[in-house]
Symmetry: C2
Subunit: 240 residues, 2 copies
């Protein structure tokens, strides 16, 4: 199967959770919006599906995936679809449901991380909500960050190995490693402190980014760098 | 199958999306935390699974569902599991994925509705974030509310009937009706205005709450009333 991924150019964003699965799964895929516009890429390629009047099942927002005739939106839903096809989900139905449950909890976590710098509106600049971002970040770092990290640490411990959803690497592990990396970019001080009590999460992050296919992907230059237009943003004033 | 639903007592919350599916599906279920503590109910029944050291696959938060030996968390994941079992999802795999995608988009919408009154932290009172709530609500009502409603209105239109995911009622329709009802409680003025251009959504709401099983559920007194401890809250100062 040839896949087509559609996501905003210039940022990792939620598209990166899908890319990591496609890369680790050895899938053939094209990252459509990263192609030049004259080759059918760029933002217009996204808008065709978001705003086109003939799309029977339109996605609400990127990322979305074309897989044959299927058009699939919502990051966790894309991974639910891809997981078994790429060997990145348990074989049993209960294990798949559990892996998806973890992915949805990661999605909640990611949104709370995003909202630390955009607590008022995604349509406003950070500079227009700095004071609110400071308050929200303080609450996030004090309560939510340790709660989420402690939860996932506990999940790995109870799974009895080094991964979240069982003895095999799953797409949820790839997303978890990406979240750890993003937190270290956004909140280097606070995340270092919070991760001190999470040896399993630190090891999971290292194990994912040591995988040969993920290493090759990172080395290829195709993985965009974290930056302050993205979900994970570093504002020193929020990190204490 | 006998189901056990676990959700915070006193509010509809995210538990209500699961309840509406169980009711419409004619399922036998017990709403465990609504039982008295001496019968194994109340908040301690929830904490046993949230904090118990022996839970192999612990949920991060309510609602969660016990179905035999399975313990399933995350509202959309519970509905993904229940949908086919209760006759509330399409029969084909692509249709199920699409229904789930809509449910995840509804979950995003619900969280944005919640955050209008809690933009800084769930752990603080509304009164501690009133100014920020006013700013967030203004942006939500101006941009996000019409965007989400317009999206779902368009989805019904393209499906060619009166439901979201095809010609049959699905769990996503039940959730959509609940969101319309919640918006009318929380933002009576703004939602009336926004729903003027959404005749299909208004009709969907009415059709869901006219279903015999949903009517019986509402008439039973078991459906809690909307209230200001819940996701949908009415603060007149936010509704303009």
């Amino acid at each position: 199967m040839n896949y087509e991924l559609y996501y905003w150019p210039g940022i990792q964003g939620r598209g990166e959770f899908v890319r990591l699965a496609l890369e680790q799964g050895g899938a053939e895929y094209r990252d459509i919006a990263l192609l030049p516009e004259e080759q059918g890429g760029g933002v217009p390629a996204l808008l065709k599906f978001l705003e086109g009047p003939d799309v029977a099942r339109p996605p609400f927002a990127p990322p979305f995936l074309k897989a044959g005739r299927r058009l699939i939106g919502q990051t966790a839903n894309i991974l639910l679809f891809l997981g078994p096809r790429l060997g990145l989900a348990p074989r049993d139905a209960d294990g798949r449901l559990w892996t998806h449950q973890l992915q949805l909890t990661l999605a909640d976590f990611v949104l709370e991380i995003h909202d630390t710098h955009h607590p008022i509106a995604g349509g406003l600049y950070y500079e227009q909500q700095k004071a609110e971002a400071k308050r929200r970040s303080r609450a996030f770092l004090a309560q939510r960050l340790p709660k989420f990290l402690g939860y996932f640490e506990c999940v790995i411990e109870r799974a009895g190995g080094k991964w979240l959803a069982g003895r095999q690497l799953s797409y949820a592990d790839l997303s978890m490693a990406q979240v750890v990396a993003g937190l270290r970019y956004a909140f280097p001080l606070a995340s270092k402190k919070a991760l001190r009590s999470c040896p399993r999460l630190r090891a999971l992050h290292d194990a994912v980014f040591a995988r040969p296919r993920i290493r090759r992907y990172v080395a290829s230059g195709r993985r965009l760098a974290f930056n302050n237009e993205d979900i994970f943003r570093h504002y020193a004033e929020l990190d204490d």
